[in-house]
């Protein structure tokens, strides 16, 4: 009875087209945002409960937010526009190293702009690698994106200019100074990531429900019919590549600066690309909410497998955990493809449908 829509009539198209048309959803979101933006930092400040320790920020919340952002980027390309990409890791790397070099070589540039420019850099490369997508489709495109992945793996490892000629190959992020606010503690890093991700998620949602989002989906569903209606495949695909790569690049910069602090090219390798792809498939292709659900699952699974058997007295070795993660992730993908191809996001929507009728069965 809680979730009924009864009495909520939309009296304008604007209301109907809102991101969360159902009032209960809006309330739920408001509570979530209040918790994330206000309650958590307070709990951290007063060191109450799990939020008093660094662990929950460094191991869970910060990577969750940043990977969700990368997943949103990949979902725009693969879920909404239907262009499969196995090169997500490479674009994160481009963002990270571009941001590093901007902040290193143009120190006067405010850090925010370095990060946004690095996204722009990634977008530019994304467009370059998107041009082949006009002729190359499906599986062939997947292999082409592998070319990007391996090429950039090599580039940041072997061309020393990018890492400022460090002998070890690993580089450090600059001090995180945003117009005077120095970001240091894990709680502060969390706030920074939260702000970035919230803004970008809203932008992504606006784009996907608007004209360009429909163009992307049209190209995904039937590109020939789309073209015959006046949608230009060139514009639609390249914009998808550009915007997707922008998001992923910014996520890469954040991953390097805000999460890791110091990193090597290896953190953006093909394992990362697969990780992003799995988040998007498991969470739901073509759903912004799905990106968050998928990222949460992929991130928490290894932690869960590590902590829970340990707590039950049957600790698993690190290797076993890693093997189990592979098996469970792979099995879940196969299972979802059979049972619910639209991933967790659709399962969530179905649960809400049932909730609307609860306690009635139909």
């Amino acid at each position: 009875m809680l979730y009924r829509e009864a009495g909520q009539f939309k009296t304008s198209y604007a209301a109907d087209m809102a991101i969360f048309p159902i009032r209960q959803d809006r309330i739920g979101l408001a509570i979530l945002l209040a918790f994330a933006f206000v309650v958590v930092p307070l709990l951290a400040y007063f060191e109450i409960g799990p939020f008093g320790h660094d662990y929950i920020f460094k191991a869970i919340l910060i990577p969750f937010l940043i990977l969700s952002l990368a997943a949103i980027g990949l979902n725009i390309l693969t879920g909404y526009c239907g262009q499969i990409s196995l090169g997500g890791g490479a674009f994160m790397a481009i963002g990270a190293y571009a941001a590093y070099n901007f902040s290193l070589r143009i120190p006067e540039l405010p850090l925010l702009f370095s990060i946004l420019l690095s996204g722009g850099m990634a977008a530019f490369v994304g467009i370059l690698f998107g041009i082949p997508s006009l002729r190359i489709k499906g599986l062939y495109l997947a292999v082409a994106t592998l070319a990007a992945q391996f090429f950039f793996d090599w580039l940041f490892l072997r061309v020393p200019w990018f890492t400022n000629y460090t002998p070890s190959g690993s580089v450090n992020a600059p001090e995180l100074n945003f117009f005077g606010w120095v970001v240091n503690t894990p709680a502060e890093r969390y706030m920074l990531a939260l702000m970035f991700v919230t803004v970008f998620a809203v932008i992504a949602k606006n784009l996907t429900r608007g004209n360009i989002g429909r163009q992307w989906m049209a190209i995904r569903d039937m590109d020939i019919a789309a073209e015959l209606m006046g949608i230009r495949p060139l514009y639609a695909k390249l914009s998808a590549f550009a915007i997707s790569s922008f998001f992923i690049g910014v996520a890469g910069a954040l991953w390097a600066f805000v999460h890791l602090g110091s990193w090597e090219p290896l953190t953006f390798n093909i394992e990362r690309s697969f990780q992003l792809l799995f988040m998007v498939i498991i969470g739901g292709l073509g759903s912004i909410l799905g990106c968050f659900l998928g990222a949460a699952f992929i991130l928490i699974l290894p932690i869960f497998l590590d902590q829970v058997p340990h707590a039950m007295g049957v600790p698993l070795s690190v290797e076993t955990v890693s093997h189990l993660v592979y098996i469970i992730t792979g099995a879940l993908i196969c299972f979802l493809l059979i049972v619910e191809p639209h991933g967790f996001a659709r399962l969530w929507a179905i649960a809400k449908e049932k909730l609307r009728l609860w306690p009635f069965p139909y």
Binding site: Y13, A14, N206, G210, N211, R214, M217, E227, M229
Partner: protein, 274 residues
């Protein structure tokens, strides 16, 4: 199928088809795929405001002809003249932006989207806000979305598909899918509407509805319509003029009555006269 016509009103004072200006003409068009000649030296015109039927047995080249007009196929020979501009080949983008819209033989809807979104894609060419504006949404972009949503809702009303506007089109029955596809084409506010077997697979009631919609579009909006159709009753009742293709060649061109009495057409396609 004359029952269809009897339920509809056609205004009597309509200028004769031949007297109106030419909207589109194809001249000496030939099209081949590899070794197969799909269309051989076909010429005909379509006049403003008329309903032109293209009929013929399967494999006659009818859909290929529409694809040529649309710009999807490029003819090896011949020209296409649309709104006075003569071209050797049409490009899909130009066809769409100049006012040619179409439906497809096998429904070509965007299966991952709802009815509403599908029809909204028809408004793509008319939407001006750039990506930056869409990213912000509130303000310019929202106003534009609402404006176009109003247009689309009028089309939804017209086609009587309000009840399925949020349904993903993949879940709709075939007849309704065809109607949504018509809606998507109408959303482009076309001057020339190409319909490829719009009534295939429909029952009598659905056909009557579809005929009504087509006639209303032609009467109320003045849209010129080119129509591929196998149901001869529909062709006779709806169309102003008919062109008959057989094995890629034009074998007749005239009013429905003339075509029906044409011996070549009877031999190739109609069989027994009605």
């Amino acid at each position: 199928m004359t029952a269809v016509a009897m339920t509809l009103d056609r205004p009597a004072a309509v200028p004769k088809a031949e007297e109106r200006e030419i909207l589109l003409s194809v001249e000496n068009v030939s099209l081949s795929f590899g070794g197969v000649k799909a269309i051989r030296d076909v010429s005909f015109d379509i006049r403003k405001g008329e309903i032109r039927a293209i009929i013929g047995p399967n494999g006659a080249g009818k859909t290929s002809m529409l694809n040529v007009i649309n710009g999807f196929y490029h003819p090896q020979e011949g020209t296409i003249t649309f709104k006075g501009q003569r071209r050797h080949r049409m490009a899909p983008y130009i066809a769409a932006s100049q006012g040619i819209a179409r439906t497809f033989q096998n429904v070509a809807l965007f299966k991952g989207m709802s009815t509403l979104d599908n029809i909204m894609t028809g408004r793509t060419l008319k939407m001006r806000t750039g990506i930056l504006g869409q990213a912000v949404y509130w303000g310019w972009s929202q106003k534009e979305e609402i404006r176009h949503r109003e247009v689309v809702e009028r089309i939804i009303d017209f086609l009587e598909i309000e009840h399925i506007r949020k349904t993903p089109v993949g879940k709709l029955p075939y007849g309704l899918q065809k109607r949504v596809e018509l809606g998507r084409a109408l959303a482009m506010e076309p001057e020339l509407l190409l319909l490829d077997e719009p009534m295939a697979g429909m029952n009598l009631e659905e056909k009557q509805d579809m005929c009504r919609f087509i006639l209303d579009v032609n009467d109320q909006l003045g849209t010129t319509i080119a129509l591929i159709e196998h149901d001869m009753g529909v062709v006779m009742d709806l169309s102003d003029r008919v062109v008959v293709l057989d094995h890629g060649v034009k074998i007749a061109d005239g009013t429905p009555d003339e075509v029906q009495r044409n011996q070549n057409v009877i031999d190739a396609y109609l069989g027994v006269t009605r």
